[in-house]
């Protein structure tokens, strides 16, 4: 049996630098003085020392009136109310679930902020508390929205909408949260027959578009018996590789960019998308199309 093995020298590595545009805003690095004027207020990513506002992260300045903040290009997920997140249950506690959202502290999903099976609104009884592990147990993936941010920065989530709830068949792709573009909607049904949830926290969920719009069950059922045809699986795999390709080239992820990347990748086999050249080619063509569109 023979297989093809590819060795790549470090010097042969694909240079992604071509993707760079020529417009570079002013960059700040930690310890650099942003402004010495007293009239400004310091925001995130800055601190005051000897009357100067200094940057504490490496990134670009953002100014809202008198408020100056420096945004790093990459960081842990910093939640905002209304964000859509894909998250994983890590712990079942009294009246709440601990959820990993890739943020600085664990998030919570309160029993009172989920829709219970049966659909109606009612007080949560002790019985419900005992049943908590039946609804969601450790390791389950959910989609949810950020309801509230506590003082210490931890997030409180809710799933009281039919679009949120437990996720069943599909794959999870993790990218850096900063690569997810904030849009009006983060749920997309792509024309290739695949649904995608772009969590603001950098978790992306790819699943086959469900044909039967599910009945009102509070989003706690998992349909694991349904068999996904091979063609759908290949599409999902291709989409995953496209997303990773874009992420590797540090390109923003949103419906259009993913769709373009998907279309550009058709000429490659799914597994070929793991090659550096293919990754770069797809990313380059995608970016080209996006830029054309801009003009």
């Amino acid at each position: 049996m023979s297989t093809n093995v590819k060795f790549r020298l470090a010097s042969d590595r694909v240079n992604t630098q071509i993707l760079t545009g020529d417009r570079i805003p002013r960059l700040y690095t930690p310890g650099e003085v942003v402004t010495a004027q007293q009239s400004f207020m310091r925001g995130h990513g800055t601190y005051v020392e000897d009357d100067d506002i200094k940057a504490s992260v490496a990134g670009v300045m953002e100014q809202v009136n008198k408020l100056i903040s420096i945004k790093p290009l990459k960081s842990r997920y910093v939640g905002e109310i209304g964000d859509v997140v894909v998250a994983r249950i890590t712990e079942v506690q009294q009246k709440r679930w601990k959820v990993d959202t890739n943020s600085r502290l664990d998030s919570v999903l309160l029993l009172s902020s989920v829709n219970l099976p049966g659909g109606e609104l009612r007080r949560r009884s002790a019985e419900d508390e005992q049943m908590m592990r039946k609804y969601l147990q450790e390791g389950d993936l959910i989609s949810a929205e950020v309801q509230n941010i506590y003082d210490d920065g931890s997030l409180s989530l809710y799933t009281r909408s039919l679009k949120y709830g437990k996720l069943s068949q599909g794959i999870l792709v993790k990218v850096f949260p900063s690569l997810i573009k904030r849009r009006k909607t983060h749920f997309h049904n792509l024309p290739c027959g695949v649904s995608i949830i772009l969590g603001n926290n950098g978790f992306i969920w790819i699943s086959p578009t469900s044909t039967s719009e599910s009945e009102n069950d509070g989003g706690f059922t998992q349909n694991l018996s349904e068999v996904i045809p091979r063609a759908d699986r290949e599409v999902i795999a291709r989409l995953r590789n496209c997303i990773l390709a874009l992420a590797q080239c540090k390109m923003m992820l949103y419906d259009t960019s993913i769709l373009y990347a998907f279309e550009e990748s058709i000429k490659y086999e799914v597994h070929e998308l793991l090659n550096q050249e293919a990754i770069f080619d797809v990313a380059f063509l995608t970016q080209h199309r996006l830029r054309l569109q801009e003009i």
Binding site: T16, Q17, L19, T20, G21, D22, R23, I24, P25, L27, T29, P30, G31, G45, Y47, E49, K54, S56, V57, A58, G59, V60, M61, E62, K71, P72, L73, K74, S75, R76, R104, L105, D106, D152, S178, L179, K181, R182, A247, Q248, C249, K250, M251, M252, Q287
Partner: protein, 249 residues
Amino acid sequence: MANQDLLSDQGLRLDGRRAHELRRIRCKLGVFSQPDGSAYLEQGNTKVLAAVYGPHQAPGKKSNHSEVIVNCQYSMAVFSTGERKNRPRGDRKSQEMTIHLQQTLRAAIKTELYPRSQIDVFIEVLQADGGNYCASVNAATLALIDAGICLKEYVCACTASLANGNVPLMDVSHLEEVSGGATLSVASLPSSNKIAFMEMSQRFHLDHLPKVLDHALQGCQQIMSILDKAVREHLALVGSASDWGNIAK
């Protein structure tokens, strides 16, 4: 004494540098996709990888309500030294190094911003050729910046030694470390000119300390400008690929 040979009559060192020259520093940020921040740094033949995870929720019993826990792990690859090492970590010297790194990084990180959290810093020395501590600190700084963690400023480390009894040497290599005299390692915050950590061993007269310390601090300054340049290049590369995405319009 071997000390005499460290500097030739022409003022050149064993590897052809002058007394006040650093070794070549090459670095790269964001080398891994799994950690929140990562960096690779070469300082001469010393090669170090650093990975940062976090800030993330600290485990219950260690959790601190007022500031972040900085957790370091320093390990040297078994093939990093001339003689194969038995254990990559866990011996007294690397435990000490871990403590020192922890202290240094805590001095630079704005710890009060991340209560109840933990930051893990993993350092792997791939090749050891002197100044391991310094290369580790410099790599860790880059990794922390890559992870978007708030720092007071760059924390840079540099070594300095003394040749021929009176000429201070900057950024000492392994050969100079073993054949020469005492080596001083300093980690500093160069722009505010503060010292975060300092360590030295072997006999060394106090009168030489100011001179050698000064040299080490100068080295830190130079390293900072090199790191700063690397960070800016990295930012420009990443930022423009995403068309500065969420950040600036």
